[in-house]
Symmetry: C2
Subunit: 217 residues, 2 copies
């Protein structure tokens, strides 16, 4: 397993740092749109403003680029759920979780689409993470939600599927952005409809889970 020539270097240089970042930015853009097989190294190199052999000086193989960009975004992806606090107020915690996920969809839609593509393709790389760390994290937080339900502080719903619902609704705004823009039409530009989305999600989830109404009309 030969490292890229750039990594045979004594220490990390400034140019290395810069170029690897440019490559990963470009790779995120390209992989998140075309998927692993649909993306080409030439495309990534062009978007990063360099020649293909130059790119391959930093990442020896296409797969290495993919792994690197998945790794770079992977933590950010798991993080929001980790902050769900068993000691907090259920409604507030769930609302805050929805907010964090929605912000991720707005600020980093490419990362969301990258994971969407990876999972639709059967999660060839992320598979072990899904059944490992992610499963453990979800099971842990599902137990928290279940305890809230048992204490009568939340309507009785299946905690795992509640988490799926929150993932689905929030990530939808990143993954299906094209469709949302087309359906909303000119009426709504991006920053505006995210606020409406946030209100709608919190309204439905919170009153659906606690009986209380979130935002009055």
């Amino acid at each position: 397993m030969n490292p890229a020539r750039a990594n045979r270097t004594r220490k990390r240089t400034r140019i290395q740092e810069e170029n690897e970042e440019r490559i990963l930015d470009a790779a995120l853009e390209v992989f998140s749109t075309w998927g692993y097989r649909g993306a080409t190294v030439d495309q990534i190199a062009a978007l990063a403003g360099m020649t293909k052999p130059n790119l391959l000086y930093y990442f020896r193989r296409k797969e290495d680029i993919y792994l690197a960009v998945l790794n770079r975004t992977h933590e950010m992806w798991l993080e929001p759920l980790e902050h769900l606090d068993a000691a907090g107020d259920p409604s507030r915690e769930i609302a805050a979780y929805i907010d964090r996920k929605l912000e991720m969809s707005r600020d980093n839609p490419k990362a969301s689409r990258l994971f969407a593509m990876e999972i639709i393709q059967g999660a060839p790389i992320l598979g072990p993470v899904l059944g490992g760390r992610l499963k453990r994290l979800v099971d842990e937080k599902a137990a928290v939600i279940r305890s809230w339900i048992d204490e009568g502080r939340l309507a009785p719903v299946d905690p795992h599927h509640l988490i799926f619902m929150i993932w689905a609704t929030t990530q939808h705004y990143a993954d299906f952005d094209t469709q949302i823009r087309a359906v909303l039409g000119a009426e709504a530009t991006q920053p505006a409809h995210f606020d409406t989305a946030k209100q709608t999600l919190e309204q439905v989830f919170l009153s659906g889970l606690t009986g209380r109404t979130g935002n009055a009309r």
Copy 2:
């Protein structure tokens, strides 16, 4: 614009009918997993049990296969929303809509993933449909929902975003099937967790929109 040789034929033969169907089935499988660029004609041909030149006898170009398979599934995709009936009971109508969408995710996950890939890639083909027929349909049904809200029969939420929420939560079970299986683990096989999903969705949506609780615990 030369048609495929099979279409230069006088009338549609039995063999044509059969083979085109086999090709479209295979194409749905392959395109829904790999996207347009990631899919190869060889792959589709192999899955359809024929040679590549034989496949190209029926569809002259890769793009023609993609268009045909999108067209074939396109109606099915729009249909569930069309049945939302302004004259019906709001809760019942929304529950029925969720059911139909969830059934589609269970019975035809590949079609769902095909559209997901197409939209993530910026809807190069479906774009006009999204801003055209789909937008008109959604606007029409959003008006129905708004009238229900104005009559006080539904909590005040943005109708467009409510529809997005239903799309997101139901399609999630098709598009992210891999992730759901990984997270649920061995505990849940497919037919079983769809029931739980249905109950959870209806509970959250219905009590979130009407104050009433869907299924008691």
